[in-house]
């Protein structure tokens, strides 16, 4: 009896919610269906593999091994924690620097400039240049013997070989590559700031800079939050730039989680461990996302 009542109440709430939010449910449904059809199977399969010992080069492998892969990574793999740390530093630094540069860049491109469409177009260049070629060119820039940077700075630093310079060097290339995305997002955000609000601020005696802080930034906040979040997730999963510059090496010195997944899964053909790295990587990301929103929430409330 109680159960039946429970079900009734449940359906009532659904009906109620549906009426109230029918358009929301209708609008989110296509996206959900798309992901269920095309994303769930690979996702579930990857998680399943992380509990097996599947290795391509061991016929007959793929048996259930419980948490073995996870134990191996968390407790016995001497490299794993270094790589996790690398990843966090990499993601934080990339995102912070990207946006620190993107905001002024977008403001410049939002001014009344001659040939503005051209500058905005050219801003996209790093994003659309094939990564394989960019790897080639950045390596040439950084080369210790014949590199452009050393040539003009009159130094002989092996930028990608010295453990003190390799991270800044890779980071610079990655910021260069990611800057257009961040700039476009901020630029799009700037378009949404109503001029009337800015005018009101000027009338109140704000300088341009003050108006920017008091009006523009708060209005753009939702976009900034979302697009930085996306930057974080993308940097967390993409690794092309590191791969073409150092391949995560020497050894695993410049490895981050995605390069480690690639190495494990497709160089060592160890799908079980590779998948386990991916699952752990996802958990780390969840922690990161939660902290990120907590911090933002606190900042907003202060």
């Amino acid at each position: 009896m109680v159960a039946v009542m429970g079900v009734d109440i449940m359906f009532d709430t659904i009906k109620l919610n549906f009426k109230k939010f029918n358009i929301a449910y209708m609008f989110i449904l296509p996206t959900l269906l798309y992901l269920l059809v095309f994303q769930i199977y690979p996702l579930v399969e990857s998680v399943r593999l992380s509990f097996t010992d599947l290795s391509f080069i061991k016929p007959g492998s793929g048996n259930y091994v419980g948490l073995e892969n996870y134990k191996e990574l968390l407790f016995r793999d001497p490299n794993f924690w270094t790589i996790v740390l690398n990843s966090f530093v990499w993601v934080l630094a990339s995102t912070v620097f990207q946006y620190a540069l993107a905001i002024p860049a977008a403001v410049i491109l939002n001014q009344k400039l001659k040939l503005r469409f051209l500058w905005r177009g050219l801003m996209m260049v790093p994003w659309v240049t094939p990564v394989v070629i960019m790897g080639l060119i950045w390596k040439w820039i950084y080369d210790g013997d014949y590199g452009l940077l050393n040539y003009y700075l009159n130094t002989d630093i092996v930028w990608l070989g010295d453990s003190t310079t390799v991270w800044p060097a890779v980071l610079l290339a990655s910021i260069w590559k990611g800057l257009p995305y961040a700039t476009i997002m901020v630029l799009a955000g700037l378009q949404g700031v109503p001029y009337s609000l800015l005018e009101a601020a000027y009338i109140d005696g704000c300088s341009k800079l003050q108006a920017f802080y008091r009006v523009t930034i708060p209005v753009m906040m939702p976009i900034l939050v979302v697009s930085t979040m996306i930057s974080i997730v993308l940097t967390w999963t993409k690794f092309e730039m590191i791969w073409v510059l150092t391949a995560g090496g020497p050894g695993v010195e410049t490895s981050i989680l995605p390069t480690y997944i690639y190495t494990k899964a497709f160089q060592n053909f160890d799908m079980g461990v590779g998948s386990a790295v991916a699952v752990l990587s996802m958990f780390a990301m969840i922690v990161f996302v939660v902290i990120y929103f907590k911090v933002l929430y606190r900042l907003n409330n202060d």
Partner: protein, 434 residues
């Protein structure tokens, strides 16, 4: 709560039903023969030869096979060498393997149990006697042939004759000679020795393996009995560490060859693929490059020249094995091999006339044709004298990283050769354990 579970369950059901359980696909065994007894097949060939000349070889092969057997249709999957194993692994794992594959190292595909043993197919035209022994052996695993070698890749060190003459250095005959030559060059502002230690570690490992072989050691042998040999090799590299470019830690072949072309390097390793690699950097380098057998180390009595091969392998799961073999036969004909071999280095077969190879080489490398032929001959001589099959090491990719990391740190003077040995040994033992 139940609602959520039900929802999740339905989602999973939907996903799996749509995924259709990829493996259980009941692909019908296609007939190899049509009614008239003619071979009928659509063949997929993984072809990592993507330079213009190699694609020409592919086009000619297709033309030849399709005109000889009107029922066979060839489709090439062009991709780069570095991507091939990944794609092959995915295809094999998904039960959708292609029919044929160009291959340099059969170790991984054999371990995946993906390749068809070819001994049963051999005939008068294609058999062991027609090929360079080391190349043939390189395509074997446990005595079984898994690919027919087409190109022979002969690896050796080369020296810069211009520098060696300028500073009055003779061709090294012992490791000490190499070391002193290297020191002399360094004193004169050049790099005595250079290697490409960057990237995924393949080239560093290759160099390490070549020097190890000349000391009668295969780098995956880390047991106690080989400790001394191992340390000798590491000490050798340690002795010349100061003569090498610091920046080589980030180099791969293009940068190494650039340094070679600039005339800054006395000794490096390469192979008979040299011309194709160096030609973009200018032709002068061809004149002052001389291959030599890396001298025997303290624990060995003669040099060893590593010989690998590029061959054509057939997949176990191919549904058209008879037709696939016809393709291998067509590729192993003198004119096809001349076309293929001439555009890169030399063929693994002994029935291709040198004149034919040289004719192709002349069309591909018109400016440095003579030098190219002279170098090729030199490499062939070295292989005849000292050739050994390139060692096949299971899970070499993983060991490459271990060796790369230890070597780089040793060359940076962060660890001693003894520590490097321990690191390599532990790393390799751990890889073997798994």
């Amino acid at each position: 709560m139940h609602r959520k579970l039900l929802f999740v369950f339905l989602c999973l059901l939907l996903a799996f039903s749509l995924a259709g359980c990829g493996n259980s696909e009941t692909a019908s065994q296609e007939e190899d023969h049509s009614n008239s007894g003619e071979l009928k097949a659509n063949l997929k060939i993984m072809w990592p030869g993507t330079s213009e000349t190699e694609k020409e070889v592919a086009a000619k092969l297709k033309e030849k096979v399709e005109s000889d057997y009107s029922g066979i249709n060839i489709e090439f999957i062009f991709l780069s060498w570095s991507d091939m194993e990944q794609k092959m692994a995915v295809m094999v794992q998904s039960g959708d393997s292609p029919d044929l594959m160009m291959v340099q190292d059969i170790t991984n595909p054999v371990a995946m149990d993906a390749l068809e043993p070819l001994d049963g197919y051999l005939n008068d035209a294609i058999n062991e006697e027609k090929f360079i022994p080391a190349a043939w052996e390189n395509m074997q695993s446990g005595g079984t042939l898994y690919a027919v070698p087409g190109l022979a890749i002969i690896y050796s060190h080369v020296l810069n004759t211009q520098l060696f003459e300028a500073y009055g250095i003779d061709t090294p005959e012992t490791w000490d000679d190499v070391i002193s030559a290297s020191h002399t060059l360094k004193e004169n502002g050049k790099y005595g020795y250079a290697m490409a230690n960057g990237g995924e570690g393949r080239f560093a490992f290759r160099d390490f393996m070549m020097v190890s072989l000349s000391n009668d050691l295969v780098p995956d042998q880390v047991d106690d009995s080989n400790k001394e040999k191992y340390l000798e090799v590491l000490h050798f590299f340690n002795d010349i560490a100061g003569d090498m470019p610091e920046s080589q830690i980030t180099w791969e072949y293009p940068e190494l060859f650039k340094a070679w072309e600039a005339g800054d390097v006395g000794i490096m390793h390469t192979g008979n693929y040299f011309t194709a690699n160096v030609i973009d950097h200018g032709n002068e380098a061809m004149d002052r490059t001389r291959p030599f057998a890396f001298p025997a180390g303290p624990s060995a009595d003669k040099p060893q020249i590593m010989v690998g091969a590029v061959g054509m392998a057939m997949f176990k799961d191919s549904k058209h094995k008879e037709a696939a073999w016809k393709v291998i036969e067509a590729l192993m004909s003198p004119d096809m091999l001349a076309q293929w071999g001439g555009s890169i280095n030399t063929t693994a077969a002994n029935f291709v006339e040198t004149a034919m190879l040289e004719e192709v080489a002349e069309s591909v490398y018109p400016d440095v044709y003579k030098q190219h032929v002279a170098l090729s001959q030199k490499w062939s001589e070295l292989a005849e004298q000292y050739g050994v099959p390139m060692p096949k090491i299971l899970m070499q990719n993983q060991m490459e990283k271990v060796v790369q990391s230890a070597l780089v740190r040793m060359l940076k003077r962060e660890i001693t050769p003894e520590e490097a040995y321990e690191e390599i040994r532990n790393g390799i033992e751990k890889i073997k354990e798994n």
